[in-house]
């Protein structure tokens, strides 16, 4: 027999972004913390409603860029001046202005890699399995519908109460999310 896992949460569906954003406000002001909202495209107001301001990504990208610059410089300097000095027309070995193109490219490359993998890492992607996909109608979250899911881990979560609360917010559907 399969072990019975606790429910992941309760999910409400919305058919327009205005109700969706209003619902996020309502869930937040009702005191819920452990919830997430899903939309088929980025909505600035939704991020504001969830209280998301800024993130670590720009700082990470800056560090990535600086690391790229340093690695590029170290490579050019060590190979060109220390390990394999080539006399080309009597020019100084450490002719740094000529390194600029390579340093620039290394900076951009490391920064861009940090931006992409940093974003995926902070988002916890790639993810093989997530309970929200157990709700059949969630397939519309990548198409035209908006969802708010209050998770069972929230201290205020109570199956009946939370369900009733979400039903008061939406005109569409509220469903339980199997684990």
């Amino acid at each position: 027999m399969k072990p019975v896992l606790p429910l992941h949460g309760v999910m409400a569906e919305f058919d327009n972004p205005t109700e969706f954003v209003a619902a996020i406000h309502a869930v937040k002001s009702a005191g819920y913390e452990g919830f997430d909202a899903y939309s088929p495209m980025p909505i600035e107001e939704a991020a504001e409603a969830m209280g998301l301001h800024g993130n670590k990504l720009p700082l990470m990208v800056l560090c990535g860029g600086i690391a790229g610059f340093c690695c590029g410089y170290a490579l050019a300097y060590w190979t060109g001046v220390i390990n394999y000095p080539l006399n080309i027309g009597g020019r100084p070995l450490h002719s740094w202005p000529a390194y600029i193109p390579v340093l620039f490219e290394c900076t951009v490359l490391f920064a861009a890699l940090t931006a992409v993998f940093g974003m995926l890492g902070l988002n916890g992607l790639p993810k093989h399995y997530h309970p929200v996909f157990n709700v059949e109608r969630f397939a519309l979250a990548s198409r035209s519908r908006f969802f708010v899911c209050i998770e069972a881990t929230d201290p205020k979560f109570d199956l009946e109460d939370t369900k009733r609360f979400l039903q008061s917010l939406t005109t569409v559907e509220v469903s339980e999310v199997q684990p």
């Binding site: 899903y38 909505i43 002719s95 993810k127």
Partner: protein, 460 residues
């Protein structure tokens, strides 16, 4: 910026860039229907067929090249750089429009880029793939092409970081990597849409794998948008740097006609010019083939034609500057170079270039021409040819008569030169048609943000 009817302080009037009556569902359905359908239109098969035949020509030409060496090409002394470099610069330039559309126009908040950025970025990738072939095969011993990279080897040698050719390796490989990342990041949410729609379980699994488990969480979107903007910010100087560095391959040399400070900006403008011509060359048949005129509207054609006109005029300014430099330099070799270009043995190519790049685009001053797909397509073909001829003029006419008349020689391409070039067109066309078949050619999630229903109404 514009004094047209201004609706509010923040949002100046912008002409609509999406057909009327679109909703989240229609946008999703119409764009992904191209991928969902089991039977592609006849035009798709014709286009793919042509591309595939030409791709096989590329394989034949490259196989013969590897078997017999670069002697089968028309290169000689002094014209050691010919079709390979012309094609490399032409292809890489075409790629630049994709990055311009996806990055620079994003930062400038140009909404109209949304419906063309996906396939323009795909075009960038495929153009860079075509470009990348040439430096590798022109080395003559392509199996040791990895010698270009800095790696610790038993030979204990390192690349010279003061050489433009090494700069080129870094610039092009970084550009290819960052363009691929940018394209893939843009695709993730749309791959999730395809995963959720797919009826075929194998397709759902493949799209699902590449969608990385994307579920559209607002927290994810928040970081996603930051990452997307940062990538755009990084790509903007990158795209400028790549063609500047490509131009250094020439400008750092001392050959008359190459050694000019105008080269970097002139090359970048030329790249964007050629790229927009190629974007239009693809967009015009595409919107007819799949009936997506609601997404790629007359307004889009108009805007792209304006960019082409502006960059085309910059390129013409470059031609004038080159002539002026020669005149003003009081340098015998520079003066002879320009005279040789205009009236020497390759005179017809120079004047054809001026006709294609300078004169044909003057028609774009008229709005009726900019909004007419047929006229625009013809002009784009002129520009595609013109920009290729420009690289021919820069590479061949500068090299074939340099300082010493005893070393002068003519260059004529062989059938293998032409076959390899046409073959890369085949590679490009094949990849493009496969892309259209298997991936959404318009960014669905970005189109959803343009739908009227996407607006969040104020209620408190």
């Amino acid at each position: 910026m514009d004094s047209a009817p201004v609706q509010s302080r923040q949002r100046p009037y912008k002409p609509p860039v999406l057909g009327r009556g679109q909703t989240f569902d229609t946008v999703t359905d119409q764009i992904s229907s191209v991928v969902d359908r089991t039977q592609q239109p006849r035009a798709w098969w014709i286009g793919f067929g042509i591309g595939f035949v030409l791709l096989n020509l590329l394989l034949v030409c490259v196989s013969c090249l590897f078997a017999w060496g670069t002697g089968i090409w028309g290169v000689n002394n002094p014209v050691g750089w010919a079709f390979a470099i012309i094609n490399f610069v032409w292809w890489i330039g075409i790629g630049h429009a994709g990055t311009l559309i996806s990055a620079i126009l994003l930062l400038l908040r140009q909404d109209w880029r949304t419906s063309i950025n996906r396939f323009a970025e795909a075009m960038t990738l495929f153009a860079v793939a075509c470009a990348g072939i040439f430096p590798i095969i022109h080395t003559g011993r392509p199996w040791v092409a990895y010698w270009l990279l800095p790696y610790p080897g038993t030979m204990m040698v390192w690349p010279n970081f003061r050489s433009p050719l090494v700069w080129d390796v870094f610039a092009v490989s970084t550009y290819a990597t960052v363009s691929a990342l940018f394209w893939f990041v843009g695709l993730i949410p749309d791959l999730a849409t395809l995963r959720d729609r797919a009826e075929n379980p194998i397709a759902a699994r493949i799209y699902g794998t590449f969608a990385l488990g994307w579920r559209g969480s607002v927290r994810h979107w928040h970081r996603y948008e930051t990452a997307y903007l940062l990538l755009a910010g990084l790509s903007t100087p990158l795209v400028i740097s790549v063609h500047s560095i490509v131009s250094f391959d020439f400008a750092v040399g001392v050959i008359p006609g190459w050694h000019a400070t105008i080269f970097p900006p002139y090359f970048v403008a030329g790249a964007i010019y050629a790229g927009f011509a190629m974007v239009l060359t693809i967009a015009i048949p595409l919107r007819r083939m799949y009936d997506i005129k609601d997404y790629i509207t007359g307004q889009h054609l108009d805007y792209m034609a304006r960019v082409m006109l502006a960059t085309g005029l910059m390129v013409c300014y470059g031609y004038l500057t080159e002539a002026f430099f020669a005149l003003y330099s009081a340098n015998l070799f520079e003066q002879y170079m320009i005279q040789n270009r205009m009236f020497g043995p390759y005179t017809s190519i120079y004047w054809l270039l001026i006709l294609c790049n300078g004169i044909s685009i003057q028609a774009l001053w008229f709005e009726r021409v900019r909004r007419s797909p047929v006229f625009l397509f013809i002009i784009c073909m002129f520009v595609n040819v013109g920009m290729w001829l420009e690289r021919f003029v820069i590479v061949v006419t500068s090299l074939h008569r340099d300082f010493m008349p005893s070393s002068w020689f003519m260059y004529y391409p062989t059938i293998w030169d032409i076959g390899t070039f046409v073959g890369t067109l085949g590679l490009f066309i094949t990849l493009l048609f496969l892309f259209i078949r298997f991936l959404p050619m318009i960014s669905m999630f970005e189109m959803r943000t343009l739908v009227p229903a996407a607006e969040v109404k104020e209620e408190h």
